[in-house]
Symmetry: C2
Subunit: 202 residues, 2 copies
C-alpha cells in the first residue's frame, strides 16, 4: 500500500510529511551516486543516515519514495496555482509566481535530481496517478495563459505550445542544475520567470 494523502490537520502527520521530505533530500544523494534504478532501499537509508528499519517506517519501498517525490512536488505546484489565483489579478503575475514555485520544487528537494521527472520508472498503477496530476497541472498553466490572452493582457499565441515550452524549460533545469553551481535556486527561479513571462507580455 502506498501512503499518500497526509491529512494536514494532523500535527503528527505534518511532522511525518516533513520527515519524509528530509529523507527525500538524502535519497537524492543516493540517486545521484547510483542512478535512480541502481539505488535500493539500503543505499537510500545510508545516504539519508538512517537505519534501514527506520527508513521502512517512512517508506515501504523505493517506488514509494519515487512516488512521494513526484506526488508531493505536484501537490505543492497545484497549491501554488491556487495561491497565485487568489493573490494576483494579473495573469502575468500569476504565471510568474507559478513558474517560480515550479523551479524551486524542481531544484530544492532533490537538488535537481531527475527523480521528479522519471514517471516511467514508477509501477503502472502509481504512474497513472502521477500522469493524471501532471496533466491537471499542465491544464492549470494553460488556463492562466489562455485567460491572459483572452483578456488581451498577454499576446496572442499557441497557448498549448507556449505552455509546453514553459514546462519544458523548467523541467529541464533538473537535468543541468548542480548544487555547487554559481546560481542558487531562487536566482534561477527569478531569471526563468522573468524571461518566460516576458515573451507573453504585450
Amino acid at each position: 500500500m502506498i501512503r499518500t494523502a497526509v491529512p494536514v490537520s494532523n500535527r503528527r502527520s505534518r511532522k511525518t510529511a516533513a520527515r519524509r521530505r528530509e529523507i527525500l533530500r538524502g535519497a537524492a544523494a543516493a540517486f545521484r551516486e547510483h542512478g535512480i534504478q541502481g539505488a535500493g532501499m539500503r543505499e537510500i537509508a545510508e545516504a539519508a543516515d538512517l537505519s534501514p528499519a527506520n527508513l521502512y517506517y517512512y517508506f515501504a519501498s523505493r517506488d514509494e519514495i519515487l512516488f512521494f517525490c513526484q506526488d508531493d512536488a505536484l501537490d505543492r505546484m497545484l497549491a501554488a496555482v491556487r495561491e497565485a489565483r487568489s493573490r494576483h489579478d494579473s495573469h502575468a503575475e500569476r504565471l510568474r509566481a507559478v513558474i517560480e514555485v515550479q523551479v524551486l520544487c524542481m531544484l530544492q528537494d532533490l537538488e535537481g535530481g531527475a527523480a521528479h521527472l522519471e514517471v516511467d520508472l514508477l509501477p503502472k498503477s502509481l504512474r497513472a496517478r502521477i500522469v493524471a496530476k501532471r496533466d491537471r497541472y499542465e491544464r492549470e498553466i494553460r488556463a492562466i495563459v489562455r485567460a491572459g490572452v483572452r483578456a488581451r493582457e498577454l499576446v496572442d499565441c499557441d497557448v498549448a505550445l507556449v505552455t509546453r515550452a514553459i514546462l519544458g524549460a523548467v523541467n529541464w533545469t533538473a537535468r543541468w542544475y548542480a548544487p555547487q553551481g554559481p546560481k542558487p535556486p531562487a536566482a534561477i527561479a527569478r531569471a526563468f520567470s522573468d524571461y518566460l513571462v516576458r515573451g507573453l507580455i504585450r
Copy 2:
C-alpha cells in the same frame, strides 16, 4: 570502431549517411516499443525492415546507432548556427533560425524519441565526445544571445540561464511530441521560435 565523420565530398559516403538516417527513423520505432535500453540490434533491424546482416553493414552496434543519432543531430545544429551567422545580421533572426532547426532535429529523425538526449546511455568514451559537442552548441547559442544583448538589440538578461531555458524548452519537445499529434514539427518549430525569441526582444 565508431564510424563518424563522413566526408561530405564523397558521394558514396553521402548516400551512406542518408541511408543511416533512414535506419534511424526505423530504430525510433524499436526504441519506442522496447525502450532505448530494451531494443537490441535484432529489434532495430526488424523495425527498420532490414536483415540483421544489412543493419550491421551500416552500424556495428546499438551504441553506434545511438551515437550517430546524437552526433548527427548536433552536427546539423552546429551547421545551422554557421548558416544563421552568414545569412542574418540580426541576432534575433539568428536565434530564431537556430531554434527552428533544433526543434526539427529533435522531432523529425526519431519522431520525438528521447534517444537524442540519452547521452548517459552511451559508453563513456563516446559520451565524452557528445558532451563536448553539446557544450560547444550551448556556447554558440550563448554567444548569439550575448552578442544581441551587447548590441542592445536584445534585453539585458542572464545570458547563461536564458540559453538553458531555450535549450530546455526545445529538448523537452522530445518528451511530449507524438507523431500523430495535432501539430507538425514545422508548426512547433515556428511557435517555439516566436515565443522564445519574443522574450528577448526590446
